[in-house]
């Protein structure tokens, strides 16, 4: 794109589906996801990159969607919490583990926590507690005290590895 515009058509892959969205020059990725695509699972908390509630995966890496301009998502692969469940509606093992381990209270950080856990399990299928703590260190939870979240990621890793759950 070698000419500048105040409206930009952003074409990217969101949850495995190619989409083209007309956005404004100052829109952020979180605006595109929530306001244009109505994927409201991605939460806006602080808007300055401190709380991590807006985390999505961009090309497989967790990023704060409040700090990415919509135009910067051009050609990228975005995964939000809505993209994790299976087509038949079954929950991903991480989602189920968060329920089973009591890792959800108010739920506001949950989509971000699960996506951070998902990115971790992609590169480290049997993570240590230290690795899990590192992976979720950019996402604040003010309810659980984190213990149940760490247990949930461990539980999901175990179910995926030993029971072959997907």
């Amino acid at each position: 794109m070698n000419t500048s515009q105040t409206e930009i058509d952003v074409t990217c892959t969101v949850n495995g589906r190619s989409v083209t969205v007309r956005t404004k020059g100052g829109d952020r990725l979180i605006d595109m996801l929530r306001d244009y695509l109505h994927l409201t699972g991605t939460k806006e908390g602080c808007s300055i990159g401190e709380c991590g509630a807006c985390t999505v995966l961009m090309d497989g890496l967790p990023v704060n969607s409040c700090m990415v301009l919509a135009g910067q998502a051009q050609g990228k692969e975005i995964l939000t919490i809505e993209g994790l469940k299976h087509e038949d509606g079954d929950l991903h093992p991480l989602q189920q583990a968060f329920i089973d381990a009591g890792a959800i209270q108010c739920g506001y950080c949950t989509p971000a926590m699960i996506l951070c856990g998902y990115a971790l399990l992609q590169r480290s299928p049997r993570p240590s507690v230290h690795e899990i703590k590192q992976a979720i260190s950019g996402t604040l939870c003010r309810c659980t005290g984190y213990v149940q979240i760490i247990e949930a990621v461990t539980l999901a890793a175990d179910r995926i590895q030993t029971k072959g759950e997907k």
């Binding site: 020059g25 990159g49 910067q72």
Partner: protein
């Protein structure tokens, strides 16, 4: 809401031309400093964004026999995870691994950390002790300056307009120096630095050689502390020398900042941090 232009050049020249035509447009790389700033100030003068993340010339990390060439767009995560950098430039690797949170390290770039130059930028003390160089390009010239010279230009508001950082060059000495990096912050993760100390040195026949010491976050821009370095250079490190160096750093820091209220905290803590950065050289 005003109309913001968005421009996604694929070459440095295109970016520089656009910047020249639209001086109030801002270059955006990782966006981790710029986007909060843009949204916080409703009356900001930004008229457009120049997204440089697609410019190949600015990305990647490469090595030749004597130096590491780190593209301005290398993210903190890329630098922290690079095995060669971890081995050869451990002080930079450590600094990048302490930036923000995992999400921010996946977005934020080393170029952004330098150019934004916040007081608490984690990479600056490391780049100062490495005597890293910056390759800057404008429409008319390319120049190479050290990070320390650039900080000085920034302090004196002498940075020429219309320039872009292309890459950082760090020498790779045959022998890796003994390296130390410590960031003091209120939490272990996702926290701004209160104080940051970076140090490199060699020990030859029990004596300290080529000591470099830098502190970030206590002054408005990170600084080298050469008087403290001189105190120790060529000597065998003792407890007393470590304490004296700590006191010297504090003395020189106060000469820059004056005695603010926070001095009551900074003086003892910085003295101790500097002492700890040196005691390992005994």
């Amino acid at each position: 809401m005003k109309n913001i232009r968005f421009f996604q050049p694929d070459t440095v020249v295109h970016a520089l031309e656009f910047l020249h035509e639209h001086p109030k447009a801002r270059i955006v790389a990782g966006g981790t400093d710029l986007l909060p700033e843009y949204r916080e100030k409703e009356d900001n003068a930004i008229t457009g964004f120049i997204d440089i993340m697609r410019i190949r010339e600015l990305s990647g990390i490469s090595f030749d026999d004597h130096a590491a060439h780190i593209g301005a767009l290398a993210t903190h995560a890329m630098i922290a995870q690079n095995g060669t950098l971890k081995e050869r430039l451990p002080v930079l690797s450590a600094a990048c691994s302490h930036v923000g949170s995992p999400q921010i390290r996946n977005l934020g770039t080393i170029g952004g950390n330098i150019i934004t130059m916040s007081a608490c930028a984690d990479t600056l003390p490391a780049l100062l002790v490495l005597e890293a160089r910056m390759v800057m390009r404008s429409l008319h010239q390319t120049r190479t300056i050290t990070v320390e010279e650039y900080i000085d230009e920034k302090r004196k508001q002498l940075v020429p307009p219309g320039e872009m950082l292309i890459k950082i060059v760090c020498d790779l000495p045959d022998e890796v120096p003994l390296s130390y990096f410590f960031k003091l912050s209120r939490r272990a993760a996702a926290a701004k630095a209160r104080m940051t100390v970076a140090r490199t040195a060699y020990i030859e026949s029990g004596q300290v050689r080529n000591l470099r010491l830098s502190v970030g976050a206590v002054t408005s821009l990170a600084l080298r502390y050469r008087e403290a370095e001189k105190l120790i250079e060529g000597k065998a490190v003792t407890d007393q020398l470590c304490c004296q160096a700590g006191e010297r750093v504090v003395h020189d820091m106060l000469a820059v900042t004056g005695r603010r209220k926070s001095a009551a905290y900074k003086i003892p803590v910085l003295t101790e941090m500097v002492r700890r950065s040196l005691e390992g050289l005994q």
